[in-house]
C-alpha cells in the first residue's frame, strides 16, 4: 500500500540517515524503533520506492515485484479467475523477490502525542519512553488500589460483610494512611507525566466526601491576586464545609491553614470559633494556639476579635473564683507584654488590653491591677502615647469612683481630688524628664479637665519652661508645649495680650511649622473679642 503520509516518509528517511551516522542503524528514538519494526514487515523494494519517491525509480524487476506484492495483498485477488491467479503466482515465483507482509500500520511520528512540556514523545529515546510507560503503569496500578479502597470504604460505611472471610468490612487508620500515601504518589506521577496539579485537599482521602466550591470569577476581574499554591483550593473547600455547616477537627485544621495565608479572612475566624464551640475545644488551648498566630501577624485585627470572643466565653467559667481570674489576668498580661515587645504601640493590642481590664476588673486598686505595669511601660519609654492613653483610661474609667460612660473630654465629679492630685504630680514628674514630649502635656490637660480644674492651677509649673518671653536675646523656651499651654492659661484668665504674645512667638520661632495655626488662634481670639 502506498504511504499515506509522504512527509512522514521523508522525515523517516532523514531520521534513518542521521541514525546511520551515529550508530550502526540501531534505532534511537521511539519513532525510529517503530519505523524499523514496520520495515521488517514489508519487502525492501517498498521501502526503497518510498525512499526514492516513487515507482519510476525502481528497476524493472522490482517494479514487477512491487506490482505483484501489491496485488497479492489486496482483496481483489479473489476476483481473479483461478487461471489468472495461478498466472500471478507463477510470476511471483519467477521474480524471486520476498513478499512479506505484516499487520503493522505505518507509524506516524506524532502518534504518541506530546508530553507536558510539548515535546513530541515520538522523539523520546527508547529508555526514556520505557520509563514513561513504567510510570503510567504505576499510576494505573495505584488507581486500581484506590478504587478498591473506595469500595472498601463504601462497604464499611454500609456495614457489609466480606463473603470470603465472613467478617465485616472495616476501614482502618492504616488503610486511610496508605491511601493518603498513594494519592501523594499519584499526584507526583500525574504532575510528572501530564503536568496536572493536584492540591493537598483533593489528594487527601479525608476530604473525598466534600465537593469543593470553586471561586466563580470572570476573566479580567479587578485586583486579581497571584495566590500561593494551596490557597485557591483550600478556599474552595472552606466554602463547601461552611455551606454544609460542618464542624469537625478537619474543618478546624482547614481554618488554621487558611488563616496562615490570609489572617484577615473575616468569616474564617467566625467559622473557627463555631468549630471550637461545637467540638468543645478547651478555650485555653485555643488561646495558646492564638498566641503563636498573633506573633506571626502583628498587624492583624481579626486575631484580637477572636481572642476577645474566647475571653468572653471563658470568663464565666472562672468568674466564681477570684484566684483563677487573677491567674488568668496575669497570663493574659504576660502575653500582651510579649506583643508589646514587638510593637509597644500596637493599636489592636491596646484596645484588647482595655477590654481585658474591664472584663477582669484589672483596675489600679486591684491586686492584679494594671497600674504598676503601665508605669513600667512609661518608664521604659516616656514618649509611648499608647501607654499614657491606657493610664488615662485606667484612672478615669475606674468603676470604683468614675461616673459610668463619662466622656474623656468632660469633668467627672466622681473622681476623688487625691486621685487628680496624684495624676497631676505624675504627669509633671514625667514632663521634667523630657519637656518637649507632648504625651504627658496632653495627659496633664486631660487630668485637669477631668478634675474640673483650671489650666491656671498649674501655671507655676508651666512657667518654669518659659522665661523672658518676647525679650529678644533673653527669651528662653524649653518646651513649645509649655508655651502653648501658657497661652491657654492666659486666655483662660482673660489676659489676651500675653496669650497673643505666646502664639506670636510660637509661630515666629518656637514652632514654625504650625505658623498658620498660631496665626489662626490669634485671629480667632480677636474675632471673638470683637463680636462679644
Amino acid at each position: 500500500m502506498p504511504p499515506k503520509n509522504n512527509k512522514g516518509g521523508a522525515k523517516a528517511k532523514e531520521l534513518s540517515e542521521a541514525k546511520q551516522e551515529n550508530d550502526n542503524s540501531r534505532p534511537q528514538t521511539v519513532f525510529e524503533r517503530a519505523q524499523a519494526a514496520y520495515d521488517l514487515t514489508r519487502p525492501p523494494y517498498d521501502k526503497e520506492r518510498e525512499e526514492l519517491g516513487g515507482l519510476h525509480a525502481l528497476s524493472t524487476v522490482e517494479k514487477t515485484a512491487y506490482a505483484n506484492w501489491f496485488c497479492t495483498g489486496s482483496d481483489e485477488l479473489s476476483c481473479l479467475s483461478k487461471k489468472a491467479q495461478k498466472e500471478l503466482w507463477k510470476q511471483v515465483n519467477e521474480t524471486n523477490r520476498p513478499l512479506r507482509r505484516g499487520q503493522i500500520d505505518q507509524p506516524k511520528p506524532d502518534q504518541w502525542g506530546k508530553d507536558k512540556l510539548g515535546r513530541n514523545i515520538g522523539d523520546y529515546t527508547v529508555p526514556q519512553y520505557e520509563q514513561r510507560i513504567e510510570k503510567q503503569a504505576q499510576l494505573t496500578g495505584l488507581k486500581a488500589l484506590g478504587r478498591s479502597f473506595a469500595s472498601k470504604r463504601l462497604y464499611a460505611s454500609k456495614g457489609l460483610v466480606d463473603s470470603s472471610t465472613g467478617e465485616r468490612y472495616i476501614l482502618t487508620e492504616e488503610d486511610i494512611q496508605a491511601e493518603r500515601e498513594r494519592r501523594k504518589e499519584m499526584a507526583a506521577l500525574k504532575k510528572d507525566l501530564y503536568g496536572e496539579k493536584m492540591g493537598s485537599y483533593s489528594t487527601d482521602p479525608e476530604w473525598d466526601d466534600i465537593v469543593p466550591i470553586p471561586q466563580m470569577e470572570p476573566e479580567g476581574a479587578l485586583a486579581a491576586i497571584a495566590y500561593p499554591e494551596d490557597y485557591a483550593e483550600s478556599m474552595s473547600y472552606l466554602r463547601a464545609v461552611m455551606a454544609a455547616n460542618e464542624y469537625s477537627p478537619r474543618c478546624l485544621k482547614l481554618t488554621e491553614h487558611i488563616i496562615s495565608m490570609n489572617p484577615a479572612h473575616y468569616t474564617v475566624w467566625l467559622y473557627r470559633f463555631a468549630n471550637i464551640q461545637h467540638l468543645d475545644i478547651p478555650l485555653l488551648d485555643e488561646i495558646e494556639w492564638l498566641n503563636g498566630v498573633a506573633l506571626d501577624f502583628l498587624k492583624n485585627y481579626q486575631i484580637w476579635h477572636h481572642r476577645q470572643l474566647l475571653v468572653e466565653h471563658y470568663y464565666p467559667t472562672i468568674s466564681g473564683s477570684p484566684d483563677e481570674v487573677k491567674r488568668f489576668a496575669k497570663s493574659e498580661r504576660a502575653f500582651v507584654m510579649e506583643m508589646f515587645a514587638e510593637d509597644a504601640k500596637n493599636y489592636h493590642v491596646w484596645s484588647y488590653r482595655q477590654f481585658l481590664t474591664r472584663k477582669l476588673g484589672m483596675w489600679e486598686n486591684e491586686e492584679h491591677g494594671e497600674l504598676d505595669s503601665i508605669e513600667g511601660m512609661i518608664d521604659e519609654d516616656v514618649r509611648n502615647n499608647s501607654a499614657w492613653s491606657h493610664r488615662f483610661f485606667l484612672v478615669f474609667s475606674n468603676p470604683r469612683y468614675a461616673t459610668p460612660e463619662s466622656h474623656a473630654t468632660e469633668p467627672d465629679a466622681g473622681v476623688p481630688a487625691d486621685v487628680v492630685d496624684r495624676e497631676v504630680a505624675y504627669a509633671q514628674a514625667k514632663i521634667q524628664l523630657a519637656p518637649q514630649n507632648q504625651s504627658p502635656w496632653n495627659y496633664l490637660r486631660g487630668v485637669l479637665v477631668k478634675g474640673g480644674r483650671e489650666l491656671g492651677s498649674v501655671k507655676g509649673f508651666v512657667e518654669q519652661y518659659v522665661q523672658n518671653l518676647g525679650e529678644a536675646e533673653k527669651e528662653e523656651v524649653h518646651s513649645s508645649h509649655a508655651l502653648e499651654q501658657l497661652a491657654d492659661i492666659y486666655e483662660e484668665a482673660g489676659d489676651k495680650e500675653k496669650a497673643d504674645l505666646c502664639w506670636k512667638r510660637l509661630g515666629e520661632k518656637w514652632d514654625r511649622i504650625r505658623f498658620g495655626y498660631w496665626e489662626w488662634k490669634r485671629r480667632s481670639m480677636k474675632t471673638a473679642a470683637a463680636s462679644s
Partner: protein
C-alpha cells in the same frame, strides 16, 4: 519636586492590568477595596479637572481620556454586582461569594434559607462596592442614571440597620443568629454613613433607617482627652479615626439638609472642636534624618547602622525652630513617625471640619507636600508608607488624596479636584451623587428629568 504623574499612571495601570503579587493574599478578603483604590487612582489622574492644571504647559487644554476604559466599565460593574448577597449588601471579595445554587433551598425546621451565609456580607465590601459602581458610570445621563441598577437597596439598608449596636456603634458583619461581629471601630461609622447617604436611607422611613442619634452619640463619646478621636470611648486617639468621625457626621448633615443649621451633626458629634483642631494640626512634624543627604547613600547607610531609628522624628526643640524649607510629615498619633496616609487623614479631617468653623485653620501645606513628593513618592510610581518603603495601593491612593486635598481649589498639577468627604475625585463623586437619583422619590426625579 513635582508629582511624577506619568509614573503614577504607570503604577495604577500596572495594578489595573496585571495580577497583584502574592503578598496581597492577606488582602484577599478585601478585593473590592483594592479594586476601588485602583480605579479611583486612575480616575483622579485622568478626570477632566486633572487636565486644566496642565493646560498652562502650552498644550491644548483637552479633556483627557479616562484611564478607566469605557469599554471595560460594564464588565467591571457586573463583577462588582456579582459580589452582592441575595439578601442585600456585598461580600468583600469573590472568595466570599457562595453560589446561588448553594444558597438556594429552604430549611423547613427554621423556615429560613438552608444556607444562611449572611456573615459573608461585609461593611467595607458594601461601602467600596457602591462607590465603585458610581465611579464606573460614564458621564452621560443614561449611564449615571442606571449605575445602581441591580443594587438591592432595601435589603442593604435593612442589613445596615441590623449592623448597628444598641450603643450606636456599627460592627462589620451580622451573623446568621443576628449577633454582630467586628470591633467598635470608627471606620464602620463612616462607612455606614456613606452607604446610608448613597442609598438615601433617610428617605425610607424610620423603621428602615439607622439610629442616627445613636451613631452621633457614639461618635461624641469617642473624642479622647487630647482632642483627637479614638476607635471608640476612652481609646487612644488616632488620625484615621478623626477623619472617619468628622466625615461620618458631615455625611449625616448632608442627608439631613437642615437649612437652619447645615452642620447640626458635626457640631453635636464633637464635644470640643477647638481641641480637635489643635490635635490635628499637632500631627504635623518636622521630618528629620540624621544629617542625611539624598545623593549620599553610603553615608546614610553608615548612619543607619549606628542608629536603629534614623527617621524617627525627634520632637526636641531644635527641630521646631529650623528655618528654610522643611519637610512636614504627618503622624497618626503623638510621638509616632510620619506616614503617607496620615497626610491624608489629617488634611482630610481638617478640611471637613472646616465646614463647621467660621474660618479654617491651615496646615503647613507646602512642607506637607514636599514631604510626600520628596520622601514617600516612589521613583517607579506610587507611594510607600514612609521614606524608602515600597509602594502599595493603599498608600499610593491616599498619597494622591492627600496632595489633592492639600492643594484644594488650586489643584495639584496633574491631579483632578477632590471630594474630601467621599475621598474620591470630584467628577466621580458627582456621578455617585447624581446616580443616587435612581432612588429619588418620583416627584423629585420628574423635576430633574424636565
Amino acid at each position: 519636586m513635582e508629582l511624577q504623574k506619568a509614573r503614577h499612571v504607570q503604577y495604577f495601570q500596572r495594578c489595573y492590568t496585571t495580577v497583584l503579587p502574592s503578598v496581597y493574599t492577606s488582602m484577599d478578603s478585601n478585593r473590592l477595596l483594592l479594586g476601588y483604590f485602583t480605579l479611583a487612582g486612575l480616575e483622579l489622574l485622568s478626570s477632566p479637572s486633572s487636565a486644566s492644571a496642565s493646560a498652562n504647559e502650552g498644550s491644548a487644554p483637552t479633556s483627557p481620556q479616562s484611564l478607566v476604559p469605557a469599554a471595560d466599565r460594564q464588565r467591571l460593574g457586573d463583577w462588582v454586582l456579582a459580589q452582592q448577597h441575595r439578601n442585600g449588601g456585598f461580600c468583600g471579595s469573590p472568595g466570599h461569594v457562595q453560589p446561588d445554587t448553594v444558597r438556594r433551598g429552604w430549611n423547613e425546621a427554621v423556615s429560613y434559607p438552608a444556607v444562611n451565609d449572611t456573615e459573608n456580607v461585609s461593611l467595607p465590601g458594601t461601602y467600596f462596592a457602591l462607590l465603585t459602581l458610581g465611579l464606573l458610570a460614564n458621564e452621560d445621563a443614561d449611564s449615571v442614571g442606571t449605575a445602581f441598577r441591580g443594587v438591592n437597596r432595601i435589603g442593604t439598608l435593612r442589613w445596615i440597620k441590623r449592623l448597628q449596636r444598641p450603643d450606636g456603634s456599627f460592627g462589620e458583619v451580622v451573623n446568621a443568629d443576628g449577633s454582630i461581629s467586628g470591633g467598635r471601630d470608627m471606620r464602620y461609622c463612616y462607612m455606614a454613613a456613606t452607604i446610608r447617604w448613597v442609598l438615601r436611607g433617610n428617605e425610607v422611613g424610620k423603621e428602615l433607617d439607622i439610629n442616627v442619634d445613636g451613631m452621633v452619640q457614639h461618635i461624641r463619646k469617642s473624642q479622647a482627652y487630647d482632642g483627637g478621636f479614638a476607635e471608640s470611648h476612652m481609646g487612644e486617639s488616632q488620625a484615621g479615626y478623626a477623619y472617619c468621625a468628622v466625615a461620618a457626621l458631615s455625611l449625616l448633615d448632608l442627608t439631613a439638609a437642615d437649612a437652619d443649621n447645615p452642620n447640626r451633626y458635626l457640631q453635636a458629634g464633637i464635644p470640643n472642636t477647638a481641641a480637635m483642631v489643635r490635635w490635628l494640626v499637632s500631627r504635623q512634624i518636622v521630618y528629620t534624618e540624621s544629617d542625611e543627604s539624598d545623593s549620599d547613600e553610603e553615608k546614610e547607610e553608615e548612619e543607619d547602622g549606628k542608629d536603629d531609628t534614623p527617621a524617627v522624628p525627634t520632637s526636641e526643640m531644635a527641630t521646631l525652630n529650623v528655618t528654610g524649607t522643611v519637610l512636614g510629615g504627618f503622624n497618626g498619633r503623638p510621638n509616632k513617625v510620619a506616614d503617607t496616609c496620615y497626610a491624608w487623614w489629617v488634611a482630610g479631617a481638617l478640611h471637613v471640619l472646616s465646614d463647621a468653623l467660621p474660618e479654617a485653620a491651615s496646615l503647613d501645606k507646602v512642607s506637607g507636600r514636599e514631604f510626600l513628593l520628596q520622601k514617600t513618592q516612589n521613583a517607579y510610581g506610587g507611594f510607600g508608607k514612609d521614606a524608602g518603603s515600597p509602594p502599595d495601593l493603599f498608600h499610593s491612593y491616599l498619597g494622591l488624596a492627600a496632595l489633592a486635598t492639600m492643594a484644594g481649589d488650586e489643584t495639584e498639577k496633574g491631579l483632578g479636584q477632590f471630594d474630601v468627604r467621599l475621598c474620591l475625585g470630584k467628577e466621580a463623586a458627582s456621578r455617585v451623587d447624581r446616580a443616587r437619583q435612581f432612588w429619588a422619590p418620583a416627584s423629585e426625579s420628574d423635576t430633574t428629568d424636565a
